[in-house]
């Protein structure tokens, strides 16, 4: 096999995976919009992301190197599950105020994610909003879990209405890590 020099700035699937995991573990500084984009590009969209990366790599590297890189990445998802959970956590944390004890509804995850994107002025267009709507169901599993754990039907929130007190949720999410 001919040794092919792979430039450091070539984003490969495994490199992205590594960057995302490190960002989720706070080992690497990350822009707030990264987590919104994780949500848009997760699931089925990650396959598309892989294709885009392949095209990008083909422009810069010999075919042999691209092939090797893709083989190296294998069937592993570009965006690991723990990063998706971390994105759900960080987006929610970005929207709530830990000093307030009023309840907030986690019922409409799509709206929450889009509000986060508006807040941090993350680039998106209609097709991305559709992707968020599709992925909201997956993210809702996390918010349901938080409500189930935290809501007590009295001060901390009501699981029936998918509501939870902001301060309670904030303190729980601050302590939780998924990666």
């Amino acid at each position: 096999m001919v040794a092919v020099h792979i430039p450091l700035d070539a984003l490969t699937p495994s490199r992205i995976r590594q960057i995302l995991i490190e960002a989720a573990q706070d080992k690497r500084p990350s822009h707030p919009c990264l987590w919104f984009h994780v949500i848009v590009n997760m699931g089925k969209n990650s396959k598309r992301l892989k294709e885009i990366l392949e095209e990008m790599l083909k422009k810069r590297l010999p075919e042999e190197a691209v092939k090797r890189l893709l083989e190296e990445a294998g069937n592993e998802a570009i965006i690991p599950e723990c990063v998706v959970a971390e994105a759900a956590r960080r987006v929610t944390l970005g929207l709530i105020n830990g000093n307030r004890s009023n309840w907030i509804s986690l019922d409409n995850v799509k709206l929450l994610v889009l509000r986060y994107a508006e807040k941090y002025k993350c680039s998106h267009e209609e097709v991305d909003e559709k992707a968020v709507a599709e992925h909201a169901r997956i993210l809702a599993a996390y918010s349901r879990e938080w409500v189930r754990l935290l809501a007590d039907g009295r001060r901390a929130g009501s699981s029936e209405h998918m509501t939870v007190a902001q301060d309670v949720l904030y303190s729980y999410l601050r302590r939780t890590r998924y990666c």
Partner: protein, 353 residues
Amino acid sequence: MSQTELKEIPIEVLLDEANKLLKAAGIANVESRFMNRPAVMRLCGPPPEQRRISDAERIRSISKATGRYPYVVFAFRGHGGVVCIPDANYYIADGLYDVHMVDCPDGAVCAELAKYIADLFRMPKPPKEALLRLADEQSLCERQVLPSSACEAAEPKKEVKKEEEADYALPQTPAAPPAPAERISASTREFLKLLYEMDQYDKSGKVVPAEHQPPSPPPDLKNLLKEQGFGWLAPVVEDASAASAVRFVLENEDLRRALQNSDMRKVILEVAKSGGVAPASPVDEALARWPAKHREVLLKMLSKSKDLNTLMSAMLQYFFNNEHCTLDAMQFILDASRRAGLDCETAAKAASW
């Protein structure tokens, strides 16, 4: 999403706010009438997107709770048709709908208002196809009603592709524009850009140093100097300390580039002459005349600003002492002032009276 989800704000207050917005835009003639569902559907047309119908059940229960206002609809009548907020996806319950008919002499103003009212009621913004009924794409883009990505896509000729973004574009044949499915969405583009930037930084936030790169055999320094166009330095590198200094410059790409730039070379020479202390820039000199308190405020604002616009909105927040002075709010104030004919010239005259 729905109107009654806003439990803290009564619908009457929201309506008042909406009317204030209309008034500020110079639209005083708003006709209000009650309609039943078929009439609203005739007025506003079929649902733009079928998928939102899934919210119907939830909204049905809400419509009972609102009492006097079963459902509030703003209908903007333009030259090309009517745009309703909320759109027809939400007309599910039989009963009375409180419809506010707004006649639009200027479609672009109405489109902007539609966007603000949708925001106010926390409803999804009207889709682009609907807004095009009120005004053409160019005026919608000028008023920033459409997202910038949509405007850029509409004007491919004006689009200036930055060098760094070019890397993220798929290979395209110049003759045929890319099919929509082949286009990278705004989010994916920014995602890749962020990842690329993160990749360039190590964990502590510093640029990855040269030793992280794959080791390459040390090239002959004299040949290297000739290749880089510094052949005249060849006699100097016989001395070991000079050679190491020259090698340092050659291996440091930023420094090499800086030395090739005549302006930067001057700065570097000045810094060297002053013993490593950088000369004061014009900005520093100007700021030195400011009161210390204002300097601190400005630095705080600058550290949070992305560009001149965000800096301006931060300044408005400071002067109005109001955190609601966002970029959109600032744009709206500027537009409203322009529409009302209030510019600096008029204000200066008024101030001098």
